[in-house]
Symmetry: D2
Subunit: 192 residues, 4 copies
Amino acid sequence: MVEGMPITALTKFMELVSKHIDNLKNTIDEEAIERFFESLDNSKSIFVLGAGRSGFVARAFAMRLMHLGYSVYVVGETVTPRIQREDMLIAISGSGETSSIVSISQKAKEIGSKIVTVTSKRDSTLAKISDIVLIVKGKPKSEKDESISQLFPLGTLFELTAMIFLDGIVAEIMARKRLSERDLELRHAILE
Amino acid sequence: MVEGMPITALTKFMELVSKHIDNLKNTIDEEAIERFFESLDNSKSIFVLGAGRSGFVARAFAMRLMHLGYSVYVVGETVTPRIQREDMLIAISGSGETSSIVSISQKAKEIGSKIVTVTSKRDSTLAKISDIVLIVKGKPKSEKDESISQLFPLGTLFELTAMIFLDGIVAEIMARKRLSERDLELRHAILE
Amino acid sequence: MVEGMPITALTKFMELVSKHIDNLKNTIDEEAIERFFESLDNSKSIFVLGAGRSGFVARAFAMRLMHLGYSVYVVGETVTPRIQREDMLIAISGSGETSSIVSISQKAKEIGSKIVTVTSKRDSTLAKISDIVLIVKGKPKSEKDESISQLFPLGTLFELTAMIFLDGIVAEIMARKRLSERDLELRHAILE
Amino acid sequence: MVEGMPITALTKFMELVSKHIDNLKNTIDEEAIERFFESLDNSKSIFVLGAGRSGFVARAFAMRLMHLGYSVYVVGETVTPRIQREDMLIAISGSGETSSIVSISQKAKEIGSKIVTVTSKRDSTLAKISDIVLIVKGKPKSEKDESISQLFPLGTLFELTAMIFLDGIVAEIMARKRLSERDLELRHAILE
């Protein structure tokens, strides 16, 4: 690749992410988040689901839920049991249309599990079948021009924002449950 | 958990992440990044490595490297072959001391592979054995008080910052190689 | 559990597996296997797919295909690219009806990739859309009584037989390509 | 590859596996298995560990332990918590020398967890630090000639035998606990 160029794309990228995250705090849907917290504590187990890079965001969140003391499973991992009526499924999909994610969520819905979706599309198939929808803004439509796609290809902006949003949710849970870093550390894997 | 509280931790979390990312652009080590780009293009294959949540960040980056057209593998996944002298290992570890990551990197070093570390500790064991060190600032030391640990428990800030930094690196590579979102999409998995 | 009992189930289990494997060699469909070998060598990349324990069998086979020198990917893993017309998908499913496996295979078929199914049901949905069907006998129907289900619950017998069959396929490929254990070892991961 | 050959390696492979499994039942160490069963029921959680193809065998066994009702985790997966003194670690390694497996098992031993090893080498490093050693015979030494390595390259015979042995252990647990296939099915994941 061309070397010795000023690192302009990286700098621009960070400026835009910083601004995007700062704006995010004005779009917080307090009512949906309250209902999410209530459901988290009323569910027997929490199942987390995502494909591709959203799947890594899902797993990073699942790991923290475990550190917080929840009974949590990742759909598709080895020790994940049958989901039950009293369980919650958290599906992460920017478009809300990823076919495997939609079809798995539909199965969980039929069983009667609570469905929570983290998506950027409120009118997506996934959002429509969900009990709780947590909107995370991805690529802004008005700026969906070449230059934005060039910096945030595919689901990049959604994935980053979802990861930050969910880590903020972890911080909020810690505050409300008066949990300290030490409480999480005691559950953190040491065989790795 | 206590419900109906104002969502203060989440809001504070976003403010601090936004500020942290904005500051990040002043700490870019252009020389290290140039050397990293040069090595990327001179390596036959790229191996990516991380434990826990840093492992998810590593995989999210590996997926984009594949989309960019690189030959890339995740250490520990099924189809990952024997690493060779002409290959590069990218290890991600906030502390630079995760024992399995250090010991695997040492093996790769013995073989003669190029070692790149993404870490927040320049004087860590991992950084010391690396050819290229990409510093990603995690929790600021001066603020390592209760309130910061409460918002960013364990490696949270490093993991988020590393994910954003590496996605910025992807944007920079796209700019230099004149790759478009469409080029990445053509390599994006559709069986999922 | 009740201790100090004679270990009768384990012994009986081994006897039946041994007999089952011995019978297996009389059911080898040479023509299907020849066509499979031909397709393997004519495909650009090989994609491997399975759910649950069949997914582990799929990955164990994928790892050996890599050791044998094929370009191989596991559907759902990090570095797996978009499947193409010139590629082959190997789906492993005892029932041939696992919904996600069927729907992913259908997508691959639409693209024009070659579909190979390893299953115990020749008239399953998966077998019907496949170019090549490799039948691996699971639980015999006539013996589908309590005592057999007690020893081989769920897909156990299919999974074991598929793993053995596919490792036998590896041995056959080695013989035909005159590859030695050393050739495989040279590709075996050492970072683990 | 050369086509149209008689499928002799595959047939020979099945004959030898069948014979190997049949012999296996004469080598069952009843006392070690009794102690293993006792420890399984006295452990709070069970952690399972393996690298490469032995890792897939480990996961296949972990999945069945979950189906049987045990609290079980795979080392390295997302929701795996910190191992405790009252937990058991089951490590699977043919050679008993895989470095990451040995070093992780040593960490677990320091914590005071019970260590169980499934290996073919009674005098290996891993076996020596273990509380219970379950020997699974791999490639017979006397036959370690070209022709055997040609059919069972690398750890093939150990991996197959370990998978069969552990599925036999599942059958034995079902018999002793009077569990039926239906009991397992009720815990089997349906979101996949």
